[in-house]
Symmetry: C2
C-alpha cells in the first residue's frame, strides 16, 4: 500500500519548499533509509528529511498528518527487526543531525541529549566527568533509537536497560504537538508513566527528539574473568548462584562451544571448546577482588575450569576479546553467509532448558547458529548463518526461530529481550500477549488515530 | 454525582445474589472503605464486595460496567491523596482476602502474589529463603495497592521503586476481561510496556489482582550510621558526594532539626538539634565497613559531626529509632493535631534549594511541619500539623503546600515522588505535565471509555 500521489506530491512540495536540499527523494538515500542490516526486505520511504530541531520535526509530522502520510523516524538504522522499513511508503525523518549534548549534570548524574546523539558520542563527551552511560546494545546506536527500541545489552544485568535509564523524553506527537513525558527527578508518582510507554514504542506513538538519561559513576576498579564449563547447565547454575549470592556483577556473558571455536579461529585464541562465561566486575579495588574470588569459588564448585582473571585494562580486553569478536568471528565461520540475529529472554531458572532444547534443534538442522547470551538477564541470541541466495535456508531459519520463540514463551519468557518487534516478530508478540494486544491497539488508536506513525510495526495495520 | 438508583439497585441485587454476605452496604463498612487516614474528605461507596479470586473481580467489574457504575479497588486504605474516596459512589472491591502467596522462585528471585498480600506478609513468607522484597512505603500496604500507586520508600535509592520491581501484573480491564501485562522474564522488548502503564495508574485503568515482583538477596552484612550537619546544604552535599562516589547506599534519610527535636522528646534521645542523615549500608562484611568509612570521610569533609555507626542489629535499630518514630513523634509535637503528609521530588542538585526555601516559608507560617526525606532520590516529605476544627489552619497548609509544589516544579521536579495524585494533587499534575495530560486522557478514554474505573482520580471527570 503506497501513499496516493495526490497526497504525496503536495506534501513533498511543501517539505521541499521548507527544507530545500535537506529533503531528498534520491533513490540511494531512500534505499539506505528503508533497509536495515538484516535479512528483512527493505521498503523505501518516498522521501527523507534531515531534521535539525524538535520544532522542525514537529513541522514535518504536522505536514504528514495533514496529508495522511506515514512518518518513519530514523536514527542510525541499526535496529534488527525491520523497524525502519517504510512498509507503506511515507516520509522518513533522519535525526542524525540532532546530535548535540544539551546538558550534563554531574551532581544529578544525568544528561539530556538530542535524539541523534550516539552512545559512544555521549560517553566521549563524558570523558572528563567520571561518569558514563552504561547501556550498550553493540551497535553505536542513537540514544533516540535506543529509547524507541528499549535497547539493552551486556551491562543491563547491573545497570538496567533503557527502561531503567531514561528519565524524560521530548516527543513529537502524531499531530505535531511537542510534549515532555516527565520531569528530571529520579522518581515520580505523578500520573501515567508516559516515559515508559514511549520507551519501546518503536516510533509508533510519536518521534522522540530529546532524551534525558541517567548516568553512572565510573567504577574505581574493574576486573574481568573467563571460565569454561562442562555443560550449559553448569554455566547457567554459576550465573544463578552468582546473582543469588548478591555479587553485583556488571556483565556476565555466555558463549557456546561453537562460538568459542569461531573466535579461537578468528583471533588465534586457545580457549576451551566448551560453554564459556565472561565476567566483568565493577567496584572498589577491594570489592572487585572480593567479587572475583566469590565467583571463582562458585565456578569451581560447579565444575568450571581454566578460570582466568585480570584487572589491568589490556589484559581485560584480551580476556574479553572473544566477546568483542563474536559477531564477525561467527560470520567468518561461513564466508558469504548473512547473519540473522534473533533473541529471546526467559526466567533464568528456565534458561538452561531453553538453550539445551534449542541446541538440540540446531544439532539436527542444515544450518548453523552460534549462541551468545546476556545470561544474567536470561537473554540469549542466535545468529543463523544463511546464504542470501538459498531460500531453503531462510525457510529453515524461520522454522528454527519459530520453535525457539515458542519454546521461550512456553517457559514464561518473552519473544524478544532486546531486539524489539518491528515487523519481524508481530506474530510472536500476538502469541505472547493474547488479549493484552487489544490494550496496545487501543493505546495506538488513541494516540495515533490516523495510524501515520511507523505503521505496521509492533501492531498489524 | 451519585449512581442513579435505577442502575444501582439492580446491580446490588445481582452482586448480593452472587456474593451473599461478602457484599456489604452497612454504613460503617462503606465509611471505612471511602475514607483514608488523611484530611481528604471521605466519600462512601454504595457497596463493598470482598473478592476472593481474579475471576470474581472480573465478574464484579463486568457487572458494574453493564450498569455504568464506578469501581474503586481497595487494598489496605493507606494511600494518602484520597485515592479510595468514592467520589461518585459505586462499588468498592476489597482485595484484602486475596492474600495468598502464589509462588516463589529462589532461582529467579521473584514471587507472584495476590493483590491483597501485604509487604510484611510477603517478607514473613520469604524468611527461610535468604531473599526479601525491599520496597517499603512505611505502611504495611498491599502489593496490589503499592503497584497501583507506584509506591516507593526508604530503600528506593538502592533497590528502586515499584516501577523497577514489578515484573508482571494480572489486571481486570474495565470490561471485565483479564490480561497479563508481561511475562516473567527480567526484561523484554516486546511491545508497549503495559506493566509500567498500570504501575501508578491508581485503579483508573483496571483492577490489579496479581503481582509478580522481583526479590533481592538478603545482604550478608548491614551497618547503619547517623551524622548531624551544620546545614541542610551540608547534609545534601554529603548525599551527592556519597552517590557520585559510587557507594551503593541502601538507605539515606534526612531529618530536619524540628523532627530531631520531636524524636528526642518522644523517645528520650539525645541527638543534636541539627539536620541529620541516617544511613544504612548493605553488602559483604568487608563491603559495609568500606562503605561506612567512605561516608564517614565524606561527612567529616563537609562539616558533619557526631558520626555514630553500628553493625549489630539492636544497635542499628537504636540508631534508626529516630526515623522509625518520626511520624508519631511529630504528631506528639502538637497533641490533637492531624498530620497532613505531602511529598515532592526534585533533582538532587536542586534539593538543598527546595528544602531551604520551603523552610523559610515555614518559618513565617502559623503552623509547623517537620521534614523527613528520602534524600538519595531527591524526595522529601512535610507533615503539616493542623487542628481538624480550625479551617484557617487547613487553608494555611494548603497555601504552603501549593508554594512548595510549585517550587519543586520550577526546580525541574515532580509534584509527588511517591504519594501519587488521587484527587488531592490533580491541579498540580496538570501544572506539571501541560499538554501531556491530553495523552493521559486519551489513554484513559481508550482503555476505560465508560470512565467507571476510580473516576475523578489522576484525571478530572
Amino acid at each position: 500500500m503506497a501513499v496516493p500521489a495526490e497526497r504525496l506530491q503536495p506534501l513533498i512540495a511543501i517539505l521541499r519548499g521548507r527544507f530545500g536540499d535537506r529533503l531528498s527523494t534520491a533513490a540511494a538515500v531512500r534505499r539506505h533509509h528503508g533497509k536495515d542490516l538484516t535479512f528483512h526486505p527493505g521498503h523505501d520511504p518516498d522521501a527523507v528529511v534531515f531534521a535539525e530541531t524538535t520544532a522542525e520535526v514537529s513541522e514535518i509530522v504536522a505536514a504528514c498528518a495533514a496529508h495522511g502520510t506515514p512518518v518513519i523516524p530514523f536514527g542510525t538504522g541499526t535496529s534488527l527487526e525491520g523497524h525502519i522499513a517504510a512498509l507503506e511508503g511515507g516520509v522518513c525523518i533522519d535525526l542524525s543531525r540532532m546530535n548535540r549534548v544539551l546538558r550534563v549534570s554531574a551532581a544529578d548524574m544525568d544528561a539530556t541529549v538530542e535524539a541523534g546523539v550516539t552512545r559512544k558520542q555521549l560517553n566521549e563527551h563524558l570523558r572528563a566527568t567520571g561518569l558514563f552511560f552504561p547501556v550498550d546494545p553493540g551497535a553505536d546506536a542513537s540514544l533516540g533509537g535506543m529509547a524507541a527500541t528499549r535497547a539493552s545489552g551486556t551491562n543491563a544485568v547491573r545497570y538496567g536497560t533503557m527502561r531503567e535509564n531514561v528519565l524524560n523524553l521530548t516527543v513529537v506527537l502524531p499531530d505535531g504537538r511537542v510534549v515532555h513525558t516527565a520531569r528530571r527527578s529520579r522518581k515520580s508518582a505523578a500520573g501515567y508513566d508516559l516515559t515508559r510507554l514511549m520507551v519501546g514504542s518503536e516510533g509508533t506513538l510519536g518521534v522522540i527528539t530529546e532524551v534525558t538519561v541517567r548516568l553512572h559513576g565510573l567504577p574505581e576498579a574493574v576486573s574481568a574473568a573467563v571460565c569454561s564449563y562442562p555443560s550449559i547447565d553448569a554455566a547457567v547454575d554459576t550465573v544463578i548462584a552468582t546473582i543469588q549470592g548478591g555479587v553485583p556483577v556488571a556483565r556476565i556473558e555466555l558463549l557456546d562451544a561453537l562460538t568459542m571455536a569461531a573466535v579461537n579461529r578468528y583471533s588465534q585464541l586457545d580457549y576451551a571448546l566448551a560453554p564459556t562465561l565472561l565476567f566483568e566486575f565493577h567496584g572498589s579495588e577491594r570489592g572487585v577482588v572480593e567479587q572475583t574470588e566469590t565467583v571463582q569459588a562458585i565456578s569451581a564448585e560447579l565444575g568450571g575450569s581454566d578460570f582466568r582473571w585480570a584487572t589491568r585494562p589490556e589484559e581485560r580486553s584480551r580476556l574479553w576479546q572473544a566477546r568483542h569478536d563474536a559477531y564477525f568471528a561467527t560470520l567468518a565461520l561461513r564466508p558469504g553467509a548473512q547473519g540473522w540475529a534473533t533473541d529471546v529472554c526467559v526466567p533464568i531458572s528456565r534458561l538452561a532448558e531453553c538453550v539445551r532444547e534449542t541446541m538440540q534443534d540446531l544439532a539436527g538442522a542444515s544450518i548453523i547458529a552460534p549462541l551468545v547470551g546476556h545470561v544474567g538477564d536470561g537473554n540469549f541470541h542466535l545468529v543463523y548463518l544463511i546464504h542470501p541466495d538459498r531460500p531453503e535456508e531462510l525457510a529453515e531459519a524461520t522454522r528454527l526461530n519459530e520453535r525457539m520463540v515458542m519454546r521461550a514463551l512456553a517457559l514464561e519468557g518473552t519473544c524478544t529481550g532486546e531486539h524489539g518487534i518491528g515487523y519481524g516478530k508481530i506474530a510472536f508478540l500476538e502469541a505472547e500477549h493474547g488479549d493484552a494486544i487489544s490494550v496496545m491497539r487501543a493505546i495506538k488508536r488513541a494516540i495515533d488515530p490516523g495510524n501515520i506513525m511507523n505503521p505496521g510495526k509492533i501492531l498489524r495495520r
